[in-house]
């Protein structure tokens, strides 16, 4: 593995929806193992489409996608099912099955490895159960194993979402707006947790995210998507007003964070803004 042999490789990926909307326009992208990449861009730029094309929840119209040596875009249904086990996905609204317990939600990450009747009677192999307990401990939910998912707070639910993805023993995490439904403090904790885990396990990750400042704190690489094209690919430090304008369009990028003096206060102002936005969604 490493940069010479990327975990994920997209070649000239195009997605045109049946409505005629061009969501992805010849995207080339490589993500090496252990790298956490933030994918930013305005709503409708194709971020969600891009990560869903990787595990083919959305079928790409053309182009090729590789995970390691496997060409995902060429797999049959059965092969795809096997390949999906290697790709963990984390969602904005957590996408937990609310009436199932935390443990059932986590073990659902193992469904690709067991037959129907075993999963129906919840008789998972001991190794899988042991792993689930270990993962729940890692994300800090050991106390809540038998609680129903709808009894948890937002941050706790997202931790279950993370544990479910990890239960797959994935090579890559596909993360869709993990913090959009969370308050600013929980957002930071969740994003930090995802990045730590990727480092621990040498996992590649693509994180779709709207909050640019938050992404800058944690990720090693940022890719900007606009109207289905990659318009920026670089380190978080390179994100300046000119780059943001290229990705999102014209806006007074220097104004918001520097309204008042010190650095600490800046962050508070940001948090307030974010909370207001979170309330609206």
């Amino acid at each position: 593995m490493g940069a010479a042999h990327p975990t994920l490789r997209l070649e000239q990926v195009v997605k045109r929806y049946a409505t005629g909307d061009l969501a992805l326009d010849k995207v080339d992208l490589q993500v090496p193992a252990g790298q956490v990449m933030a994918l930013i861009g305005p709503s409708g730029a194709g971020k969600s489409t891009l990560i869903r094309c990787v595990n083919r929840l959305v079928e790409p119209s053309s182009g090729r996608i590789f995970l390691g040596d496997t060409e995902l875009s060429a797999l049959s249904r059965r092969e795809l099912r096997r390949a999906r086990r290697r790709m963990g996905m984390i969602f904005q609204e957590f996408a937990l099955v609310e009436r199932l317990t935390v443990m059932e939600n986590v073990l659902s990450g193992y469904l690709g490895h067991v037959g129907f009747w075993r999963s129906y009677f919840r008789r998972f192999p001991r190794a899988a159960v042991a792993q689930a307990f270990a993962t729940l401990e890692r994300v800090g939910l050991s106390e809540h194993v038998d609680k129903r998912a709808d009894a948890l707070s937002g941050g706790q639910r997202q931790r279950v979402g993370i544990a479910r993805a990890l239960q797959q023993n994935p090579q890559i995490l596909l993360v869709d707006e993990p913090t959009a439904s969370l308050d600013p403090k929980t957002s930071r904790q969740i994003l930090r947790l995802i990045c730590e885990i990727c480092t621990e396990r040498n996992l590649a990750a693509i994180i779709n995210i709207h909050d640019v400042q938050l992404a800058q704190l944690f990720v090693q690489r940022v890719v900007g998507l606009r109207a289905g094209r990659v318009v920026f690919d670089g380190s978080p430090d390179e994100l300046d007003a000119a780059v943001l304008t290229r990705i999102y369009g014209e806006e007074d990028w220097t104004a918001a964070p520097r309204r008042r003096g010190g650095r600490e206060e800046d962050e508070d102002t940001l948090d307030v803004d974010e909370e207001r936005l979170a309330g609206m969604t």
Partner: protein
């Protein structure tokens, strides 16, 4: 500040924008209703003559007589309850796969059309019509009733289950699919937990309906308490008929109470 004063009054826009069309529709509906009621030809003479007869009929129901036909009533009740429970269980078992097949977000188009077809056929006939046909096919008695109620349950339950499946939150189902789950596992983990409380509620509600229907279809020969009730009325034994009606009311109310308690527990 703007130069023109801001409006002080606001009304919501009317449902039908065209004023002439709107008033034509309202006026037309009014004229139709007046003419329709006028065409009913209520014969007040006959209504007046009927009133004392109605009083006498109602009086004949009292006091309800539970004893003189006790054996018949007990037999009819047991038959009805058996019919109700067996037909509900059979109906639910058949409805679940048909309901899954009739949900557009789960089933492929040919399966969807076939299952929707079955539901349409089952729903287009009222229970009494089905019962008349089935009594002709399999003869008088509770077997006809069982078949009728099972058939009617399929139309009711499959349709409502299919609609509930179509209304699920798609994101947990998508998440389960993304883990590499098979189609059956996806149903079991992504869909079933979302629709289970409603399925239980609908099943209990149908049990309730099937009991009431079992009393009705008995009148056309499909066995059960309806047959007993019909016999009592044919013999002018209105006090025994009243006893049967009281028992039906009590059982329906008990079923209602128990099912709402259970539904409250399974959310």
């Amino acid at each position: 500040m703007s130069t023109t004063p801001l409006p002080l009054y606001w009304r919501p826009p009317p449902l039908i924008a065209n004023a002439r069309l709107r008033w034509c529709l309202i006026g037309g509906a009014g004229v139709y209703l007046v003419l329709a009621f006028a065409s009913l030809e209520v014969n007040w003479q006959r209504v007046l003559e009927g009133l004392p007869r109605a009083v006498r009929l109602v009086a004949a129901f009292f006091p309800p007589d539970f004893t003189s036909r006790q054996a018949d009533i007990i037999e009819g009740m047991i038959e009805s309850l058996t019919m109700t429970v067996t037909s509900t269980v059979a109906g639910v078992l058949i409805s679940v796969p048909i309901g899954i097949g009739a949900a557009r977000n789960v089933a492929p188009l040919p399966v969807y059309l076939a299952c929707r077809g079955i539901i349409a056929v089952s729903r287009s006939f009222q229970e009494i019509i089905i019962a008349i046909v089935l009594v002709a096919l399999v003869g008088f008695g509770p077997l006809a009733g069982f078949l009728t109620l099972s058939f009617a349950t399929i139309g009711f339950l499959s349709k409502l289950l299919a609609e509930d499946i179509e209304d699920i939150d798609p994101s947990p189902a998508e998440a389960v699919r993304a883990t590499g789950a098979s189609w059956l596992q996806w149903l079991n983990y992504g869909i079933q937990p979302q629709v289970m409380p409603r399925l239980i509620g609908l099943g209990l509600y149908r049990l309730d309906i099937n009991f009431r229907e079992s009393a009705v279809i008995g009148i056309v020969g499909a066995g059960g308490i309806g047959a007993t009730l019909n016999t009592a009325i044919d013999r002018y034994e209105f006090d025994s008929a009243a006893a049967i009606l009281v028992l039906i009311i009590v059982i329906v109310m008990a079923a209602e109470y128990i099912s709402s308690w259970i539904r409250g527990r399974v959310q």
